[in-house]
Amino acid sequence: MTETMINYQYAQPSVLLKSAAHESLLLSNYSEVQKGSVAPCFFWGKLHKPFLLSRCLITLSNVVQSSFNLSPAESAKLKDPIVTAGNGKLRFEGFSHCAGVYARVDVLPDGLDGEFIENGTTNVDFNQPMISALGGIRPEEQVMLSVGSQELSLHKEGGTVLEKKVPLPLKWIKGLTTVQIFLSESAISHTFNKLQALQLFQGIPKGVLKNDYYLVNRGNRPLFSPLKSPGAVCIGGLQRLRLLEPLLPYLDKLCVFPHPGMQSTTWQLYFGPLRFSLSLSRESWRGFSGEGAALEALIEDVPDSWVDAMDKYSYANQEFNPSLLAVEEDLDFRQVENLTGRLAAMGLLGFDLDDNRFFYRRLPYRLDRIMSLNPRMRDAEKLILEAKVQIVSRHEGKVDARVEGSGLKHTVVLEGEKARCTCTWFSKYQGDRGACKHVLAVKKMITNI
């Protein structure tokens, strides 16, 4: 199968420039949806915690270089993270190759002193020389950061345009949408200080772990246990947490946010005005990209006019307020009620665990690309189109339906929040990995009736 390619065109490679007075970290940016041919400059200013930010970015680069289900040759490739600048904040996001580990570095307003020239989301070039140079930033150093180049002259100085033609990171794009939904459903369960965090991570068994581990409290001591017990946080592929180890000696605190259905865990590290969060998928061989969390949110269509309105009224990192959108665009309040999930599934929103709110962030990829990434939803739509869905009864909140499968009919029953199907997928996962196409088809059909 021919892979879809994407051609990142950076004005120059990202670089850490040294001068007598200070160092400058210039992150080159590119987005396939940017307007005009010149990538805009999003931020230019001073970093308050350059040593810690450099460590966070190195860890982010380790995440994007890592892979927990692919061959080593694949994992050595470095992919470019995306950055969202605006509302006084910078957020760097990236995924592991296998799309099972999501990492985000948030630089909060106190961590920056500079100018947000534009707001938006973009890919930034991450290259090995720059990452290696980041390792040399010292605690007391003065560092300026530029996301995109402020001066055109710099492009010229930088020499040739850097082109990276790589397979389109479909898994990333889909994972970026799905993980936000998991995050929005997660809630804090544990807070650890530095000592507790270090002790906890010391207990991660060596090597690749095939079975699940559980975060439990033993006396006052948190521990990773292979035994499931009530209230324990389930973590698959525990060894992935080792990615955080280099950051532990610097943290102020570590908070754990498990998904209520234990489909993911997020480990958020706090360093003053910086935060590093790492989200792990349910198991190391399962990427966020394959999870069906976003599917339910896509059952109802979002009119194009709403997406345009979002672009008009929102700017990057701004807290998303669906009511405001309804007022501004004169939309029915009931219609926008579940809008956040849908917009997140379309790559238009990110989720901030500390604020417990969605924020506006439009992925730097074409919307049609993003929407084409949900085959289960496409299959569900096909079932409806081919008239293979039959609603047998519908009363008192209970829907009984039959959906044609291959050679036989599946029974789908919806009762309140609960949905059941007789197909193999549902029987196996019991809804843990998102709804099956049969349930989606029935839900979509009754929504549109």
Binding site: A76, L198, G219, L227
Partner: protein
């Protein structure tokens, strides 16, 4: 055209092929694709030539023709099909590429770079690049360059000449390409390992020496090599490749001036994920720290990470450098002391002592910041180290010490009231047919072990409500049943297949009963015509009797359905994992009593096996007031421990099972005649002897290319053998449920079946564990299935709410010594929970561990590491229990010390200090002998200074 091609191929005329293909257009050539594929299938295979020899049908010429014509005629890149010509015809590509260079040529060659050994040599790629056929990426060049200095011998197959001068053939190689080795993954570190190099002047040289020589000669810039080698350690290469660059850097022996100049890269290498790089840099810093230009501030900033390292040597070396800096620079002492506290995360006594001495020497006793930094670590600091830090620890406010990371307190007292069944563990009952339909779909997924029992019970319960419409809704479940029994699937066990067989038999019944609605079922049956999938065929397909009693219960369900009755099964679990509420059991017996029907014998026995017996009072009253005859007598005898067998024994097997489950070793008079057989005697006894041993065997070592054989060496396999009798030829006419487990020596179940087997005996798991342990506790053969089965055994034991059985205790103890870390973790956690719930006698676990370690059944280090990581610092109760365990363990050991005994004694010493107790010389008289043993003298001396 095809005929002409086949002639060329048949005669192996290489010389004719290219002119022949050239004479056609691309479209015409493409018409040959099918012929090429067909001929390749025919010729590219091996044939038996007699005398045990095989050889390929095709000649070398024919293979060449096939490969080249594949390259020329196939219209697109088909990696698998094209692979052949890269081996056989790359030398002849010039002639081809000048008139046929497909658009995918470059991408195909690049795709090869992920191969372990690239079939196309470096110089050919350079040549093709020069001629414009491809544009080689740095990744590709890095991947193919390592092989370039090894040139194939023309005569001796698979042999190579070492020719480093090849690197000088093209100036770009040393100017540019060789540097890609430092940036991209390659086999530069291991290319020599699998090559047979012909003896010559420099055959001992390897890539590393080549680079060293090129550096000496000035052909490679020395500073750049040093710099790039350091940068390579952070390029996400694997462990061995990273280590190779570290070795290269050290081989070049950089001098002080160079190291000072390279500090940026050296500090950056401290962030490498590979500890070898970190360790190497620290050793260099050890020589460098006194240099005026050494960046001390940067080094101190790294200390918190270095001191937190899990690699002891990293923390140790960093600490010794920090000590030297503290000595020389008083203004840095405060910073260093604060960082040194991180060391206390390590449980290594020597390291903690070294750090404490540094703090004691350089730390300011009145410094508040230092005090505040030490306090949170109090509980992590070993008792022997604490006196050194007293000035900072004594100023603690009462109660402050245990606030962070300290052990919690467990109240002393009686065992917690632990009920076998509770409302939290109630298995949800099925409400209606819809529930049955969805249960049927998932019952073979093993989502819950009890689904196996629940489904037949539910089908029986709702059998009269099944209609034609329901049959259609059950079709997906029937389809899954057919699939389960005709395809292999890793997640399915024999229990799942038995359940599938039951469903297939049930679908047969429905086909007869509802012919007008059975078209779907008939269609399904036709799709799987092999037969032998239903319940009647079960015995024909499997030579194992473990599942026979379960099958008999399924048979009885089908029989009831056919008869039109639906009296509930007795044995369906009511509470997880598999217990039955005794009150409900009485009601189920009553249903049979009222219907005047006789329950299935296996169903009765399984029900008794699963009945929760810890609080039977109410159920006993119910049985006595509501049941009659044999039911009443049986349940009275079963539920009341003090009752004696009283009443007519109509069904001796019911009574035998009840008597065995009382676990008092007594055989009632009325049953003695039935219980003469050896197996039954053993079952009544209920205890199984075991023996641990180390069995010698010849293990396989490295493969020797000269002899063509693997080397063999002596090794010892730790095994545990539980003794249990089997029926062999002396079979009884009618078996008890449990007797099927003792039918013969080896009856294999699959790992997924283990929980359900154990859950057939929640009150007496040793009845099933006895025949499983010998298979699953073989540590040296710990392959994945056996390992998973062992983990499942531990998980299932954990779910059983009763006391840990003797064999359960053996599994936990042996688990703590297992070679697999997950198994050890499980065993330690099980111990933790049971200590917390006071449902384990740690002395018994310790006694078993002692018996095992007496023969050094497994390295004691596994246990001491486990104690440090999982069993200490948890609570006072756990510290007490661990001390109890260690005393029992030590008391079983011989006076000749076993390996790593010192560490165990150190832990014992730490526990004594924590628990405020003293060494138990009465139970461990061996301490006296150990006291005069060199390496143990110190720790035993300390122990004996605090004795009873």
């Amino acid at each position: 055209m095809i005929e002409a091609y086949l002639d060329i191929l048949e005669e192996g005329r290489k010389d004719l092929l290219i002119p022949f293909l050239k004479s056609y257009t691309a479209k015409e050539r493409h018409a040959l694709v099918q012929t090429i594929k067909k001929e390749e299938r025919r010729l590219d295979k091996y044939e038996f030539r007699g005398n045990g020899k095989y050889s390929r049908i095709a000649t070398d010429e024919q293979l060449w023709i096939l490969s080249v014509s594949t390259f020329i005629c196939f219209g697109s890149e088909d990696r698998k099909a094209l692979q052949g010509w890269t081996w056989r015809a790359y030398q002849d590509m010039d002639e081809i590429l000048e008139w046929h260079c497909p658009s995918w040529f470059s991408s195909f060659i690049h795709g090869l770079k992920d191969e372990e050994f690239l079939p196309v040599p470096y110089l050919y790629v350079l040549d093709w690049q020069e001629k414009g056929y491809l544009s080689a990426s740095p990744e590709l060049l890095a991947a193919i360059l390592p092989m370039s200095i090894y040139v194939k011998d023309d005569k001796i197959a698979h042999s190579f000449h070492f020719r480093p001068e090849e690197l000088e053939k093209n100036p770009t190689t040393l100017e540019q390409h060789i540097w890609y080795l430092f940036e991209y993954p390659s086999i530069v570190n291991r290319v020599e390992r699998f090559l047979s190099v012909i003896a010559g002047e420099k055959e001992q040289e390897k890539w590393m020496d080549v680079i060293q020589r090129l550096t000496k000669s000035g052909q490679m810039d020395r500073m750049r090599v040093l710099k790039e080698s350091l940068l390579a350690v952070n390029r996400n290469f694997n462990k061995t490749q990273t280590a190779w660059f570290v070795d290269l850097f050290l081989l070049l022996n950089p001098v002080e001036k160079e190291l000072i100049w390279l500090q940026d890269q050296l500090f950056s290498a401290l962030s490498s994920v590979q500890s070898k790089a970190v360790g190497a840099v620290l050793i260099l810093f050890k020589k460098l720290y006194a240099h005026p230009d050494f960046r001390r501030t940067d080094f101190i900033a790294q200390l918190s990470v270095l001191f937190s390292s899990e690699v002891k040597s990293v923390a140790k070396t960093a600490l010794s450098i920090a000590e030297k800096i503290a000595e020389a620079a008083p203004d840095r002492r405060q910073d260093i002391c604060i960082q040194a506290i991180n060391i206390f995360l390590s449980k290594d006594e020597a390291l903690q002592l070294q750090s404490a001495k540094l703090i004691r020497k350089y730390g300011d006793m009145d410094n508040t910041e230092l005090k505040e930094a030490v306090v949170p670590y109090t509980e992590a600091i070993l008792m022997s180290v604490r006196p050194l830090l007293q000035p900072w620890l004594t100023t603690l406010e009462p109660g402050q010490a245990g606030d962070q990371g300290g052990p919690g307190q467990l109240e002393e007292g009686d065992p917690l009231q632990f009920r076998l069944i509770s409302a939290d563990h109630r298995i949800p009952e099925l409400k209606d047919l819809t529930d049955l339909i969805f249960l049927a779909g998932q019952s073979m997924d093993n989502n819950e072990p009890y689904h196996f029992d629940l489904l037949p019970a539910a089908i029986l319960q709702f059998s009269k409500e099944i209609t034609g419409e329901t049959i259609a809704q059950l079709e997906p479940a029937f389809l899954r049943a057919y699939k389960a029994n005709s395809q292999w699937s890793s997640g399915l066990g024999l229990f799942d297949r038995l359940l599938a067989a039951f469903l297939i038999s049930y679908s047969g019944y429905l086909t007869v009963q509802f012919p007008e609605h059975a078209s779907g079922l008939i269609k399904l049956k036709k799709q799987y015509p092999t037969g032998d999938l239903d319940l009647d065929s079960w015995g024909r397909r499997i030579d194992c009797h473990l599942f026979d009693p379960f099958k008999m219960i399924f048979d009885s369900v089908l029989e009831q359905i056919k008869k039109g009755t639906s009296i509930p099964l007795l044995s369906t679990s009511t509470h997880t994992p598999s217990y039955i509420d005794p009150g409900i059991l009485v009601q189920r017996f009553k249903a049979y009593q009222e219907a005047g029907a006789e329950p299935d014998a296996m169903d009765v026995q399984l029900a008794l096996q699963r009945c929760a017996l810890d609080d039977p009072g109410e159920a006993l009253g119910m049985a006595q007031s509501e049941l009659q005859g044999e039911y009443k007598a049986l349940l009275t005898y079963f539920l009341d421990k003090n009752a004696s067998l009283d009443g007519e024994v109509i069904h001796p097997n019911w009574w035998l099972t009840a008597a065995i489950l009382r676990k008092d070793g007594q055989i009632p008079q009325a049953l003695k005649a039935e219980a003469e057989q050896e197996v039954l005697q053993a079952l009544f006894k209920g205890e199984f002897e075991w023996k641990a041993s180390l069995n010698e065997y010849l293990a396989y070592g490295e493969y020797n290319y000269e002899t063509g054989k693997s080397e063999r060496y002596k090794a010892w396999s730790p095994e545990i053998l539980v003794k249990y009798p089997v029926h062999a030829s002396k079979k009884r006419a009618r078996y008890l449920f449990v007797e099927y487990f003792f039918e013969k020596e080896l009856q294999e179940a699959w790992e997924t079946d283990v929980p359900r087997l154990i859950f057939a005996f929640p009150n007496h798991p040793d009845l099933i564990l006895s025949s499983r342990i010998n298979q699953y506790l073989k540590i040296s053969y710990a392959e994945s299935d056996g390992l998973r089965a062992l983990i499942k055994m531990l998980m299932s034991l954990r779910q059983l709410n009763g006391e840990l059985s003797p064999l359960g205790n053996l599994i936990v103890a042996a688990g703590m010594l297992h070679s697999d870390k997950t198994v050890r973790g499980y065993a330690a956690e099980l111990w933790f929970e049971r200590v917390e719930e006071r449902r384990i006698t740690s002395a018994e676990t310790g006694r078993i561990l002692g018996l095992l370690e007496r023969i050094e059944w497994a390295p004691l280090k596994r246990l001491t590491d486990l104690m440090m990581s999982h069993m200490m610092g948890l609570s006072t109760a756990h510290h007490m229990a661990l001390e109890e365990l260690i005393v029992a363990l030590l008391s079983q050991l011989e006076t000749e010390p076993v390996k790593n005994l010192k560490k165990l004694l150190e832990i014992y010493h730490e526990l004594i200090a924590l628990n405020g107790s003293v060494a138990d010389l009465e139970k461990i008289p061996q301490l006296k002998t150990w006291h005069i043993t060199g390496s143990l003298k110190k720790v035993v001396g300390e122990l004996l200074s605090k004795q009873l």
